[in-house]
């Protein structure tokens, strides 16, 4: 498993002089779970936004499964098999939880105008997707909210639905921006277990942002990139990152 799923080279973005992301390099190998950590305002979310095309990057190169995506619109990048969540959970608020889960699946027959007029064409697929959606909701322990509007959910529940949406999308690369902030402890554990299991069974590649470093170091992640002030300061396996962080802490502590 040495194939690279996501390759980032020299990615930079500044906001009116502020270097939010400065010359970031990393390779996300296929089937790997990578953590992107760093203090508040270190440029993690901006890195996500520039990779996915939500914000145009100033310079650098991003390759998804070997294909250059810099400068392409978000929907084209996503179509290569990459889906993400946003940090400030952006559900479709006046849609039900179930509907929120039913938009992300790719290749739905009924999403073209002509097929939409012929319900029998998409009925079977729709049924399968509903089943899948309920399975995911059950797994995330929010099945009872399926028929509620997304605007009626609590903060933690919203996060869960957001993860559910991501799982529905059939993407090969999942990018999660602080997925478990505000989610209760045991459920956090379960979500991480599920992600790891899915990764193994379905060959997914996962990139997680988390700013609680101790927390993510305990989650059994393959690879960690540490950012600070837009710079990439560390890049390596958790053990080494932890030692280096201790060194940095000690250094800064003096």
């Amino acid at each position: 498993m040495t194939e690279v799923a996501l390759s980032v080279r020299g990615l930079s973005k500044s906001f009116s002089g502020l270097k939010a992301v400065n010359n970031i390099h990393f390779d996300l190998k296929k089937n790997e779970i990578m953590g992107l950590i760093g203090p508040n305002g270190s440029g993690k979310s901006t890195t996500f936004n520039t990779i996915t095309g939500i914000i145009p990057a100033d310079s650098g190169s991003v390759k998804v499964f070997g294909e250059e995506v810099m400068g392409r619109p978000p929907h084209e990048i996503s179509s290569l098999g990459l889906s993400r969540t946003f940090q400030n959970t952006r559900l479709w608020r006046e849609l039900t939880v179930l509907e929120n889960l039913m938009i992300p699946p790719k290749n739905q027959f009924g999403t073209s105008v002509l097929n939409a007029l012929m319900p029998w064409k998409y009925k079977k697929q729709e049924g399968e997707l509903i089943e899948k959606a309920y399975t995911i909701l059950k797994l995330l322990e929010i099945e009872h909210m399926a028929e509620n509007y997304a605007s009626e959910l609590s903060g933690g529940q919203s996060k869960l639905v957001d993860i559910g949406r991501l799982l529905m999308s059939d993407a090969k690369i999942l990018m999660l921006d602080e997925p478990v902030a505000g989610v209760a402890g045991p459920l956090t554990e379960k979500i991480f277990q599920t992600l790891k299991k899915l990764r193994k069974e379905l060959g997914l590649t996962i990139l997680i942002i988390e700013h609680n470093m101790d927390f993510i170091l305990r989650k059994g992640i393959d690879h960690i990139v540490v950012m600070a002030n837009g710079e990439e300061i560390l890049n390596g396996p958790p053990d080494i990152v932890r030692q280096s962080l201790d060194v940095i802490d000690a250094y800064l502590g003096e």
Partner: protein
């Protein structure tokens, strides 16, 4: 709510104890009175031989009554509608339908009751007996006309969130295409092409759809509010263009813009040897109903499908929709095209109705009425559009009717009161504040003054919009949530099943991609 069965476990409040029976009483009384009045009037007129029962119009008039009473009176007696209506307004609703008006069953009932009221209102419009059928046909046509436009707007603004204030622009494209293609025709490669009314309409719809699609290119790159502002200008733009258009002018060199008249309408010729005593208006009303049903079915199919779901996602947060791989721009452009075609259809219908068109037909105020229907009906709900359109059409017609019905039937006192108030509000106070009239010559009685109905219409519709936005912002029938149940509900337990499912769906997709 009966005793002890209150699921909320709260003390029953005033409305719960007295609201339901009170509203039931009021409804039954009003319904009863309306029907008694109507029934006796019809009988009266036939007895007094004001209607010649043997004449063709008289026959139709009779049949309409007969059908109405045979079909609808039993329903009323069965109490279905009365109970439905009570549910709408009483607080019992909250317990029986926890989702409130977002419940399908309740919505169906509201719709039936609403349409019945609409029907009653159509039938009790005061009019000359010989013109009864004409009035009914006109109102039905007007309701269908507004419904179709409102449903077009509903797909664009209600579902997708594209704010379009240029309804009349697309309607105008339909009007002009229909008028020109079916009368003067166009020259293509030296061939003079004149089409029949239906084909003209279809061509107009295609033109309007293409214009809508192309409008997406400059328009949708802008922010929502700027796009809305552009669309306001479009209607006026079309009107100005028509004013300068040679096709619309007299042959004389100084010819002013007179438009096109004697525009043919579908099946009009077939009525030449009129044996059934049916006016063309009735036929056109039927055609309008058919068109409306077609648009209703199409818009329901679209909005209920995965396509409609993506549209609603775009309305809520288009960036997230894009980051799940959907080309938001293409979806919005397709919506502008579909809406454009629907608006153009309405435009052609209007041309058939009045059989003439001139630049003044592009009345920007139409957009306002369609928006009112959209807000009152309930954005996001196709059926709601019909209710909203009915409210607008009936208001418009009733107010117009006040000044056009024969003098004998005109409710003089009512008009005088209206006149008095509107004079004071609009002319005296308004004039004194904004105009050049002085306080001295304001507030003088003008008994001769006749009320101008157009601003009463605007006043009522405006008031309705404000009231709805304030007290019922979702409209009469709000958008329905999407709530299909899972078949294996509750049987799956763990992620094994999920993994299996995910593997299955991704297999389905890869298979699909290959073919």
């Amino acid at each position: 709510m009966s005793e002890g069965s209150d699921p909320m476990g709260e003390d029953p409040n005033f409305f719960e104890t007295i609201g339901a029976p009170l509203s039931k009483f009021v409804i039954v009384k009003t319904f009863g009175a309306a029907f008694k009045e109507f029934f006796s009037r019809a009988l009266d007129k036939i007895e007094r031989k004001e209607i010649d029962v043997s004449s063709p119009t008289g026959k139709v008039y009779n049949y309409v009554h007969l059908i109405f009473f045979v079909l609808f009176y039993p329903f009323l007696l069965l109490g279905h509608m009365v109970s439905g209506f009570t549910e709408v307004i009483s607080t019992e609703t909250l317990h029986r339908f926890p989702k409130g008006r977002r419940d399908k069953v309740l919505q169906d009932r509201i719709f039936i009751v609403g349409m019945t009221i609409v029907l009653v209102l159509i039938l009790i419009q005061p009019s000359d007996p010989s013109k009864k059928l004409f009035v009914i046909s006109f109102l039905v046509f007007l309701i269908c006309y507004y419904s179709i436009m409102a449903m077009g707007l509903n797909i664009q603004t209600g579902a997708t969130g594209i704010v379009n204030f240029g309804v009349i622009f697309f309607v105008g494209i339909g009007m002009v295409s229909s008028a020109v293609l079916s009368t003067k025709g166009i020259s293509l490669f030296g061939l003079k092409i004149i089409l029949d009314p239906i084909s003209s309409m279809l061509v107009g719809m295609v033109i309007s759809a293409v214009v809508g699609y192309l409008l997406a290119y400059p328009g949708l790159r802008l922010r929502t509010d700027y796009f809305a502002i552009i669309t306001i200008a479009l209607g006026e733009f079309l009107k100005r263009m028509l004013l300068a258009e040679p096709t619309f002018q007299t042959d004389r060199p100084w010819g002013s813009s007179i438009g096109i008249s004697n525009i043919p309408a579908p099946f009009k010729d077939a009525l030449d040897n009129n044996r059934f005593g049916i006016e063309y208006d009735t036929i056109l009303a039927l055609i309008a109903i058919i068109f409306m049903v077609i648009v209703l079915v199409i818009s329901k199919l679209l909005l209920r499908s995965p396509y409609g779901r993506v549209l609603r996602g775009i309305r809520e947060d288009e960036q997230v929709v894009a980051s799940y791989g959907y080309d938001v721009f293409k979806y919005k452009a397709s919506v502008l095209a579909i809406g454009g075609a629907i608006f153009a259809m309405a435009g052609s219908m209007w041309v058939w109705k009045v059989s003439s068109i001139f630049p003044g037909s592009i009345a920007v105020i139409t957009t306002f009425y369609v928006w009112a229907a959209f807000i009152i009906g309930g954005k996001g709900n196709s059926k709601g559009m019909i209710l909203g359109a009915s409210v607008i059409a009936i208001t418009q017609y009733s107010v117009d009717n006040l000044s056009t019905i024969s003098l004998a039937e005109r409710p003089k006192t009512f008009l005088a009161v209206l006149d008095f108030f509107f004079r004071i509000i609009a002319v005296d106070i308004g004039g004194a504040i904004f105009g050049d009239s002085t306080w001295q010559n304001s507030f003088t009685s003008r008994e001769d003054a006749m009320v101008d109905t157009s601003f009463i219409q605007l006043f009522i519709v405006g008031a309705l919009i404000i009231l709805f936005l304030r007290y019922m912002p979702d409209g009469i029938l709000p958008e329905l949530p999407y709530t299909p149940k899972s078949e294996s509900h509750g049987r799956f337990e763990d992620e094994e099943l999920l993994i299996e499912k995910m593997r299955k769906t991704s297999q389905v997709y890869t298979k699909e991609e290959k073919t």
